[in-house]
């Protein structure tokens, strides 16, 4: 049987849930940050290759 305290707890939990953002789809963001990471990696490796060639 639900007690008054349980109900209060549930209300509190549902309020807490509302303060969090809804679950959002961020697969495009994930792809975009991978592209940024790729650019960083390619640039770094490219100049490192020049360094090795000239060393």
């Amino acid at each position: 049987m639900e007690t008054q305290i349980d109900k209060l707890e549930q209300n509190k939990k549902s309020k807490e849930k509302k303060t969090q953002p809804e679950k959002e789809e961020l697969k495009g963001t994930f792809a975009a940050v991978l592209i940024v990471g790729g650019i960083i990696l390619v640039g770094w490796l490219g100049v490192f290759g020049l360094f090795l060639e000239r060393a």
Binding site: T19, T29, A32, V33, G43, F51
Partner: protein
């Protein structure tokens, strides 16, 4: 959001009271006056270096190079940043600045303008062609250094004005987290004041007595170390206000929300912690600092990449969530839903795109071994033109298109918006061509900071000439863009129709709990002090104890 303001004191149609708006506008317009002169000097520089024109005998390349660097990198940026932060603090704390903040603001403006005039006059008189890094043993007139000191002290006063507003807001709102914009403004100034202390020491105790002839020589190693203690955080002083616009203003412009309040604040705390103890990555090729200390600074530099990557993630997330709510679908379909014809979004977005290769280049510069490939080459010039000259500058332009009419109670008209789009395209194309040529030449070994030369017709140097001309052409496009920008901003200040222009401040979609520790300043300032002592304490002590013979002053121009 309701903004409290007394109608009799407010300019009609503006979200900010007249007194605060006038102060902000005073800073912003000094910034753009400096920007105009700097753009002219920059264009001439590109033309000379590209072998297209020759300067008359009464001036020289290094004089206009100094004018361009000082006016663009130090004066334009600092004045704009101070004006922008004051306006945003007023906007988010009730629409006004109170007495103490205004007094600090105007006192800072007077000191900064006085310092700027002193520096500009000495440069024009050819008494200070020491470039914007003012490295010893090149010696400028003492008035140049005194002017620089006044500029820095003036910016501190402006910072105290923001701290005063912050304190007042906290007193009136006990237990609440400060508005995001104010928090970011305070973090920026805390970082700036800590970072400028050593350059103030360099100027007051090394450069001024030496340039006055009170001491015969100067400790070069120490002066360079103190400069770069300040020099790298200077880059973050440019970037953090641009990030403020990205985190807080852009989401509102595109009809979205701040992605995460906690993430935004944490990114700024990381910038506060890690942007200062990193200066040796500018000194990787210098003797007098051991490899171990350089490595510590390189590691800390690579840590400061993290808040920038957090910012990149956060911006993509804002764009995606907003674009999807407007019906965008697929992996990148949400991009189509962004307001591409709104210059308030378009200009900063183009700036963000430039920051991707800019950040990648920064990681290359900071890596100990491969720094040898690009050190002191024109690659570095290309690098800071796509970071501060594109990412930061385009964001500041995008902000100006709404900030100035919001401050003057005028409207950003359709025609001004369209001209702003054209101006942005010119700037982007010019900067792309110029910086691409600079990066390419730099990888081939072309030095930076040199007048036109073919190195006695050496075949390698002759091979750079086509790139030099592309660089000059890019500089020409940038100058056209700069002129257009000033005309648009004059129109928005004096001639645009009266009306409402929004001061865009975004909020989170739902209430988000923010960890209280993010606003416990003693914790963060203590940690900054610890990191600084760790990274700089021993090396600076060594540079003082085991000094190499000092250098007398040199005048090479």
């Amino acid at each position: 959001m309701v903004i409290a303001r007394k109608l009799d004191e407010a300019i009609p149609h503006t979200p900010i009271q007249r007194s605060a708006a006038t102060l902000s506008l005073a800073y912003v317009w000094v910034a753009y006056a400096a920007f105009g002169l700097a753009a002219l000097a920059g264009m001439l520089q590109g033309m000379v270096r590209g072998g297209i024109i020759e300067l008359p005998s009464w001036t020289n390349y290094y004089q206009i190079l100094t004018a361009h660097g000082v006016l663009m990198a130090l004066i334009f940026t600092t004045f704009f940043i101070v004006g922008f932060i004051f306006s945003g603090v007023a906007r988010t704390t009730g629409g006004s600045l109170h007495g103490a903040a205004l007094k600090f603001g105007w006192a800072g403006w007077i000191l900064m303008v006085t310092g700027t005039l002193m520096a500009v006059v000495t440069i024009v008189m050819n008494e200070a062609s020491v470039l914007y890094t003012f490295y010893a043993p090149l010696k400028a007139s003492p008035y140049f250094y005194i002017g620089s000191a006044l500029l820095v002290v003036g910016s501190w006063l402006a910072g105290f004005g923001v701290f005063a507003s912050y304190r007042k807001w906290k007193k009136e709102n006990p237990g609440k987290m400060s508005p995001l914009f104010v928090f970011m403004g305070v973090t920026t100034y805390v970082m700036w004041i800590i970072a400028t202390l050593p350059v103030a020491v360099e100027v007051l105790f090394q450069l001024i007595p030496w340039s006055l002839g009170l001491v015969p020589t100067i400790n070069i190693m120490l002066s360079r170390t103190l400069f770069w203690f300040f020099g790298h955080p200077l880059v973050y002083f440019w970037l953090m206000p641009a990030y403020m616009a990205w985190y807080v203003c852009i989401p509102r412009i595109i009809g979205g929300h701040v992605f995460s309040d906690s993430l935004s604040r944490l990114a700024f705390i990381c910038l506060l912690l890690f942007s200062i103890p990193v200066g040796f990555h500018h000194q990787l090729m210098e003797p007098g600092i051991s490899a171990g200390w350089k490595m510590i600074h390189v590691v800390l530099t690579l840590i400061v990449v993290i808040p920038s990557l957090m910012t990149a993630f956060s911006m993509f997330a804002v764009f995606e969530t907003t674009g999807r709510k407007k019906g965008g679908s697929g992996l990148f379909g949400w991009l189509k839903k962004l307001p591409w014809t709104d210059v308030r979004f378009f200009a900063p977005f183009v700036g963000m795109l430039f920051f991707i290769p800019g950040g990648a280049g920064g990681i290359i510069n900071a890596s100990n071994q491969i720094n040898a490939v690009i050190h002191n080459t024109i690659w570095v010039t290309g690098h800071f033109h796509i970071t501060v000259g594109a990412a930061v500058a385009l964001t500041f332009f995008g902000v100006s298109f709404w900030l100035i009419p919001a401050l003057t109670g005028r409207k950003l008209t359709k025609i001004a918006n369209r001209m702003g789009m054209v101006q942005t395209v010119f700037w982007a194309v010019g900067m792309f061509l110029m910086s691409l040529a600079m990066h390419t030449m730099g990888l081939q070994g072309a030095p930076r900071r040199t007048d036109y030369t073919t190195y006695m017709d050496h075949p390698t140097a002759l091979g750079w000439m086509d790139y030099q001309r592309v660089m000059a052409f890019g500089g020409g496009l940038l100058f056209v863009s700069a002129v257009l920008l000033i005309l648009i901003l004059l129109y928005l200040t004096f001639y645009a129709p009266k009306g409402n222009t929004e001061y865009p401040i975004a909020e989170t979609e739902t209430k988000q709990e923010v960890p209280r520790i993010l606003e416990r300043w003693p914790v963060w300032v203590g940690l900054v002090a610890f990191l600084i002592i760790l990274a700089y304490g021993y090396p600076i002590m060594e540079q003082i104890q085991h000094q190499a013979p000092g250098s007398p002053p040199f005048r090479t121009w």
